[in-house]
Subunit: 340 residues, 4 copies
């Protein structure tokens, strides 16, 4: 049986997901698209897909079994609530919503509905390297994890468009989510430290050191560098009681020449996580076909809004900013969603 | 448009390809299966697939656009000729056929038909690491390749079932094919040297050193070890005029514990090449949908029979055994099939 | 010309230095030894060396051109002042002294003498890997350093004898000194964070995360784990504006077996830094032969007492503890001593 | 007690050994030098050393306990025989002598003398990486060695001066000696294969593949590339019954920048083996002080002349050239000299 999917938002990421759903993955068909720019929607629509005038019409159409939201962040809340109202599974790109209050409203609606419908686009959880790392940590042969070091380096960000709150609002959320998932733990507090500023980004505040204090006492030590010039470099290392487990280098050809023994670094997140995006949707299609969702949940989207808010407060205060989460609804009972 | 595929042979590899065609890949449907054991065929048939009494019936059925051959090697020639007769694209697992004469007959039929229909299952050409290695060699910044070292290590082979001709007949053909493809070159002669015998395999002749003398003068230096106990380890390194290019390690978690800093090795070829198999069929589906074949050709299957024969002669003679290929039909004009 | 050296303190480290000075290095002769246990001194004395009753007698003897202090920390101040009084070069094992006030008194005496006489035993500065790392940072092709990550892992410490202040008092000083030297910078403040406690060390506080705020704004992020079971693992990585420079793995045989691809880790600091100790004394002998000292200075020993004190305060306060250094005497004018 | 050493030959390598013996090593003094160019000898002579008119005078002088021969190869035989005649230990740079007959004459003289006096300059045996590799092989946990791969790459050789016999006469002998030592085995036959010629060296024959057939059946597979442009790269890997042991990369700083993750390669043999040369003389001084020699012996120098001769014959014949060694005198009883 083929899952009929409607896509809201046909910008860069929306187009990429349409390509993925039509050319890469099986068991799925894009039957509807919409966008605030209907012309763009029409040109992005694959053969056999209807162009809908509004998200509401797309969500309610009989031609659509499940929804993929790639619209502007502030539009997410209403679209998510509409999907929940009609009981359709929905994949929502980051951010889930743009405020903690909105996250709580979506959560309330989903809990009232009584079944998980929402998956948030934290693709790292679907990356084979991270899954192997989690398996080693969970395996327990190294003892309990005590620290986790997350390195998040980006070659460059667009001058002017990328502002000083974005390393914490947009970038940190990935490290925060993957840390919660790897460790099966929640974030209890956040500190931010600002090292000597890089001159690569003009006035932009960069890099950041962020300490995430987990509920268990584990400290996650994050480096965020967004203009490091050399490439997109994601590293992760767990210090456990009796050893260390770390992400490997990506498998580039080993070249030995006048520059030494060397391996290339990915240029950007598309190159680094292309297979994780495919896998993310592969698993979503299976769950959505059963009328539900697995993977990162509304609870995880809610946690992301809390950590971003606390990190911004921590820059201003220079202090540890604590995070108080509401009680966890039974719907999201697993401590943090486990790998398949 | 969905490609309707019939699968001949539903043993282990046939079942794995059925899983791949039904659960992993898009644009394709398994509509027919057959096997010498019809009961096994019935139990392997996915929903909606017919079980055919004979390969001939399957090949000729309107329900089948293209054929996947996973039967016993000696049955391949007849099945390939049948496919060519009715003009249907066909994917054939290794070996293409079991003699040089049979390879020439299939080639003659395909050339007479006038369009490529046959793809042979040399999956390494679809592996991302090999493709990146080829891109570096072809890029030319290191100068011309002068030597290529191919290491082919297998954890273990079944005692008794795996005989002393198989390292050359079944295993070497992968190294030979990937060398021809990486270097864009043909094999002109073969030498085999037998180092001290491993006691891991009882009477089995193991390991082997094979030198492939390419037409260009490049020497390919192959190590084949089939009982090396520790895992499945495939390495490749090209020595060029101004530098070296090598396959990377596979990306396993880096663990530091009382055993040192270490990374796991794949257990077998399924683990190592799982993505290459998927990609192999992804590209086959596209070409078969257009009524033709790309990837490794009948010419490549013919080359494989020649190198295996020459290697077996070289063990007996201790000398360089030369390979004389027939003139290359225009149908296979590209020196050796290039990466996409 | 051979340098005649007197060694004060013939415990484990003193004996090792006597071995080094007599069996490994050239241009040097051990002519005198002393110890609080004169019998131990006698048995440690190499052929031709006198056993002195007191440090004072050894320091003043005509048979002694230069002094090596390996006695108990609280005895260092008086012995250093004696050496300065008679104008003899002196190598002093860590700690230089046990209080900031004592460090200032030694500094005052050396400044009054007018020539450097004291070298402190920070051996990492003589390690070839650290020297290459410094050369890359100083070379400037990666831009300015912004962060430095220092990892200090020890397989185990003696239960009971090693107390919770020692990771900061004894261990951190190495990371602090090497950071000052690598970055050519002073430490302006210290923060300490305590992750989830390891159960490997019973009640011992372990591990620690320490943030050293350098005068330039660079933040040094230190992990100290003293019971990590797997070995002695020292890592260092500088994040610069346009790239990263890191210490390499130590060169152990690469073994591929059923445990994967792996390299051994050193067992302890003796194995890791054996060549650095030799080089440290090689350079000391040259300078002492010229009646002076190079390498880590009294100023560096003073800085070490300040950072250890501040770190202990930071554990108690949970806050950033600032460090105020006195004006730097011209005698120690180089920002931080450069590599040879 | 200080060993008084006379150095014959004060060209580049002789000057380097004088530096080593006077500035780096202890327990040794250079008391005499000579050279065919006495002016060069005088300028190379360290303080306190006499300049001798002839090698004979130096060898016989009471001021000289032991001799270092760094003269031209054809002069070695006579100088070695003179040393043996007066019973003085002698370190002889490669080649021991320039013909198998000469090697046999030196061996006969040493055997008649009744004690080892000669050490040949195969410095690789003193390299820490090779010693660790040998320890792993000898440890036996990987089973017996079956193949050994030796890679010998040189950035460039002087055009015109370096002729086509030199990769086999001068370069191969290192791989041959280290293979004999690592494996505790003798070479029974040699084959040479010539891959596509590099254009880096004009008319020079380069690279070479050499197969050394050891008495045990192990095959040593050697790549010699002398103009590979990128640096001096020495690799070694033993394939054993249950795993692989390989030399590590040299410990260069790991730099991540726009060229990827990379480590520098040594420029030449001086950089790669500087510590091995020091260690080689450290051990020689100890043995010479006891009136004898350890390390590579006259027997090893004899083996080297045999393998070079056989390799040159093998280029001409294209066949396996066998090596027949004389019976091994009891003086050289250890199969091949073991590491200390």
């Amino acid at each position: 049986m083929t899952l009929k999917v409607g896509v809201i938002g046909t910008g860069m990421i929306g187009q990429d997901h349409i390509r993925r759903l039509t050319q890469v993955l099986s068991g799925v068909q894009v039957t509807g698209v919409t966008d605030i720019d209907l012309e763009r929607a029409a040109s992005a629509a694959p053969a056999g897909a209807d162009v809908f005038d509004t998200p509401q019409a797309l969500i309610r159409s009989d031609k659509v079994d499940a929804v993929v939201i790639c619209s502007w962040g502030p539009a997410h809340e209403e679209q998510l609530l509409d999907c929940i109202q009609v009981g359709k599974p929905v994949f929502c790109e980051k951010p889930l919503v743009t405020s903690t209050e909105a996250a709580l409203r979506v959560m309330e609606a989903e809990v009232a509905f009584g079944r998980r419908l929402v998956q948030v686009g934290f693709m790292r959880r679907f990356d084979a390297d991270y899954r192997r790392l989690k398996a080693v940590i969970d395996g327990g042969t190294l003892g309990l994890p005590l620290m986790y070091k997350s390195v998040h380096r980006n070659a460059s960000v667009p001058a002017g468009l990328y502002t000083s709150d974005m390393p914490l609002n947009d970038t940190l959320v990935h490290d925060a989510d993957i840390s919660r998932w790897l460790l099966g733990d929640e974030i209890a507090g956040v500190e931010v430290r600002l090292p000597r500023k890089s001159r690569q980004g003009g006035e932009l505040r960069d890099p950041h050191i962020v300490l995430l204090h987990m509920a268990s006492g584990v400290i996650v030590d994050v480096e965020i560098s967004v203009n490091i010039a050399y490439g997109y470099d994601i590293r992760g290392e767990a210090s456990c009681e009796r050893g260390i487990a770390a992400l490997p280098n990506r498998p580039a050809t080993v070249i030995t020449d006048a520059r030494g023994i060397r391996q290339a670094i990915p240029e950007d997140w598309r190159e680094r996580f292309i297979e994780a995006y495919d896998q993310e949707f592969r698993e979503w299609i299976v769950a959505a076909g059963q009328g539900t969702a697995t993977g990162p949940s509304t609870w995880d989207g809610y946690a992301a809004t809390l950590v971003a808010d606390a990190a911004l407060r921590a820059v201003a205060s220079g202090q540890l900013e604590e995070i108080a989460m509401r009680d966890k609804p039974a719907l999201y009972a697993a401590p943090v969603q486990q790998a398949a």
